[in-house]
Amino acid sequence: MDCTIKVTGLTKQFFPSRGIYTALLHPLEKPRPILAIDDITFEVKKGEFIYLVGPNGAGKTTLIKIMSVAVLPTSGRAMVNGYDVVKDESRVKASIGLISGDERSFYWRLTMRQNLDFFAALYNLSAVQARIKIEELANFLDITSYLDRRFQECSTGIKQRLAIARALLNNPSVLFMDEPTKSLDPLTARNLRDFIKDRLVREQKKTVVFVTHNLSEVEDFADRIVIMYQGRIKACGTIPDLRQTINSPQASLEELYGKIINSNSDAVA
């Protein structure tokens, strides 16, 4: 099977900015770097639905941001659809979609259609292509009746569907989803995950990297899970495989997660 995402020895260090008070008090002291991503290597195959899980501060969002070219890595390499995220920035951008759980990333006083039309232009769609694509996506996501409502007048679930519609405007083969269900009620979140798995992954063969720290949503949906902790990949594999590696075939996800996070070895399975 083709490899859509290939990450090799990826490391990201951040140097925390110092306030002027600290800088004046300790002018020669260099800020200690924060290791957000620590020598990560993994691959995602075409059409896979993988979950990136881990506690807050594990490095999940940083990894997503590197793969969606918003942050430059310190060392190592990340390839998306065969393009290097550092050297082929525009090609990577043209082939991915990013969905976050952040409602703020739209223009609240514009209608859903106006928002999509604006982003369609940024994805190089002509006015005619944009109009057709917006109608098509609205049908696909069942938001046609909301298209002419202002964004601020829509429910959180509809807003999240709009975020998916935006990410699909350029028909990307890879979708990065950074906690898209975090502000949704359980039923709407479940419907959204069903939609992603059935329509986007199974039907449209898209590769989805789904970030969450909510384990309850993982089991029914993930082809594989990647567990991150303190910037490293602690485990990567299918849930049955991971259960095998900790010798607990009946372990609940919480137990599995706890054992892997607390183990001293990396990259189980």
Binding site: F14, S68, L110, F118, F119
Partner: protein, 269 residues
């Protein structure tokens, strides 16, 4: 720069701004009040006492009318680029734009275009109120000469604005360029009074502000109908600013974006 993207930004800004239609009306009422205020102040002044105003062959009111009408470009150039970047960071829309295959330079320039269009509308309204309510004559206006000066003014001032935005990109707040220029331009550039009445020691500073040449050229072109060849000293001075500032601003902005990507702070505020 792709025109479809540029128009999408202008349309989006217009739709957002026009959704606050009352603000439009108040801003234009504010212009009328401002014009009237300067008209009555001018009644107190004897232009015979201001040798430099006499040089223009006009009274103080037409002199200051051009100053306040076109000083808006300075304010826009200083604040539009950095202000827009910060606004889009705060609202979370910058990240959504950055994931699209659109260059950051296209985003920052296009985001600010609406402000320049609105400033142009305001400048026209200043002149319109001056002509209709206070009988200022623009019969001699040399439109091509005024346009040449205006274009060079916008380019040179925008470059300073982009340098200012570079600081915002890295430091988020408190850029020294905007502070320095905003604090001193009204005083040194001849917005309210001719720079010739400043003592020599202070007048020297006025030569380092593009707005000085811009306002002098615009007054000559609009009020006295100077042709392009008669405005060559001011055109040359503005062209020198453009030649120095345009590449410098692009270089600094590119550097700022790279630094923000390394520090991972591109979308933070």
């Amino acid at each position: 720069m792709p025109l479809r993207k540029v128009f999408a930004f202008i349309k989006k800004e217009f739709l957002v701004k026009s959704s606050y239609w009352l603000a439009f009306i108040f801003s234009w009422l504010g212009i009328l009040v401002s014009v009237a205020t300067f008209y009555f102040i001018s009644k107190l002044l004897n232009p015979e006492n201001i040798i430099s105003v006499k040089e223009y062959g006009i009274g103080y009111f037409p002199y200051v009318l051009i100053g306040i009408a076109f000083a808006g470009y300075f304010s826009t150039a200083m604040h539009a680029f950095s202000g827009k970047i910060r606004h889009e960071q705060v609202t979370g829309t910058l990240e959504a734009m950055l994931v699209t295959p659109t260059r950051l330079s296209t985003i920052i320039i296009s985001l600010s275009l609406w402000d320049f269009i609105f400033t142009s509308i305001n400048a026209f309204i200043y002149l319109f109120f001056g002509a209709v309510f206070f009988k200022v004559s623009f019969m001699q206006m040399n439109i091509p000469a005024a346009l040449v000066i205006l274009i060079l003014t916008i380019v040179s001032l925008s470059s300073i604005g982009i340098i200012s935005a570079s600081f915002i990109m890295v430091f988020k707040k408190g850029d020294p360029i905007s502070w320095l220029m905003t604090m001193s331009s009204g005083f040194f550039s001849g917005v309210f009074f001719p720079v010739d009445i400043l003592p020599l020691g202070l007048r020297v500073f006025s030569y380092f502000f593009p707005l000085t040449y811009a306002l002098r050229g615009l007054r000559h072109a609009i009020l006295q109908g100077y042709a392009i060849r008669m405005l060559m000293p001011d055109i040359a001075a503005l062209a020198v600013f453009c030649i120095i500032l345009v590449p410098l601003s692009m270089k600094l902005f590119g550097y700022a974006v790279k630094r923000a990507k390394i520090s991972g702070s591109l979308t933070y505020y």
